[in-house]
């Protein structure tokens, strides 16, 4: 039996370009070029419009994990991320009526999450809005990379095994801190592109940036993250990360 959920009059649903996937659980879909919602997206939204609580649950279940990951890396602390998750879902369910299917449900939902982050960011301390000028440990941005293998960057200890490291709780915390510490314009790009698997084209539409800008910011964000990790980690010969 389906319960009814009351629905508010829809706001203006801003649609974005898309990708595949229904429940949005398909992360790491890096270069999908399709546009618009899938049939499954549309069916799910239709069920929600008809007041089917099962659709509400399905959307919540499919997106709560990815959204909490995204928001944690944006906010840097679990409490703000949880608050952001609630705000995001509240907007999602309030405005789902206005979902026109011009973008996939995943893109539409993440656009809302990005907006929630922006609102939060404005309330908090002003983030640098320009290019990266300072970073962890006084890092001066990619322009400072005069020599990619300068001894001070600790390259000899850099032995990453992504498959192993990603299983390590402490290492994951470092990554989250590293991403969260970036200026907004960089972390939002790396978060969507590399962590959430949106294509460059999707990120550019989602953030209303030129694709070339997305690529440059993404690259800088990756270099920043690399620098952050190198400063904080020493990967032992056993591959077990530890504090520098």
């Amino acid at each position: 039996m389906t319960k009814k959920v009351s629905r508010r009059k829809a706001g203006k649903g801003e649609m974005l370009p898309p990708k595949r996937g229904t429940g949005g659980t398909t992360k790491k879909n890096t270069e999908a070029k399709t546009h618009g919602a899938t049939r499954a997206d549309l069916e799910l939204v239709q069920r929600f419009r008809e007041g089917d609580l099962g659709a509400f649950d399905a959307i919540f279940e499919a997106y709560s994990g990815p959204l909490l990951g995204f928001l944690t890396r944006m906010c840097g602390n679990p409490e703000d991320a949880k608050e952001g998750l609630q705000d995001t879902f509240l907007s999602v369910f309030r405005y789902l009526e206005g979902f026109r299917g011009e973008a996939s449900l995943k893109n539409w939902i993440f656009k809302i999450a990005v907006t929630a982050c922006l609102k939060k960011k404005r309330k908090m301390q002003p983030f640098p809005s320009g290019e990266i000028e300072g970073g962890p440990g006084g890092w001066a941005g990619p322009e400072a990379f005069t020599n990619p293998l300068d001894a001070s960057r600790g390259s000899p200890e850099w032995k990453l095994d992504p498959e192993t490291l990603v299983l390590d709780d402490e290492f994951r915390r470092y990554i989250v801190q590293g991403v969260a510490s970036m200026p907004y314009i960089y972390k939002v790009v790396i978060n969507l592109r590399d962590f959430e698997g949106f294509s460059t084209q999707e990120v550019s539409r989602l953030l209303r940036l030129k694709e070339s800008t997305v690529k440059v910011r993404l690259h800088r964000a990756r270099l920043y993250l690399q620098d952050w990790l190198k400063r904080r980690l020493r990967v032992s010969e056993q591959g077990k990360p530890g504090r520098a």
Binding site: V5, S64, L68, P162, V216
Partner: protein
């Protein structure tokens, strides 16, 4: 204008073209040739590949059943009130 950059810095700044994949322009060819002859840039490129791989493998955040329940209740309450 600007300060003169050494060739390796310029290469590092353009590495994203190769990381994007599917790029086959002459700039990519130049990058590849440089990487073949420069161990430091080749190492830097490998590290960036690892960073990308790490991000792509990064798991979603776990939302506990308890948290889910609390959020859903709040959402349903807010939605019913509007």
């Amino acid at each position: 204008m600007g300060t003169k950059k050494d060739p390796c810095t310029k290469i590092v700044q353009k590495m994203y073209l190769m990381l994007e994949g599917g790029e086959s322009g002459s700039l990519c060819a130049t990058l590849r040739i440089h990487l073949e002859g420069c161990t430091s840039c080749a190492e830097q490129y490998r590290v960036l590949e690892d960073i990308v791989s790490l991000c792509k493998r990064f798991p979603d955040e776990e939302v506990s059943e308890d948290q889910k329940q609390k959020i859903k209740e709040k959402l349903l309450k807010s939605l019913s009130a509007t």
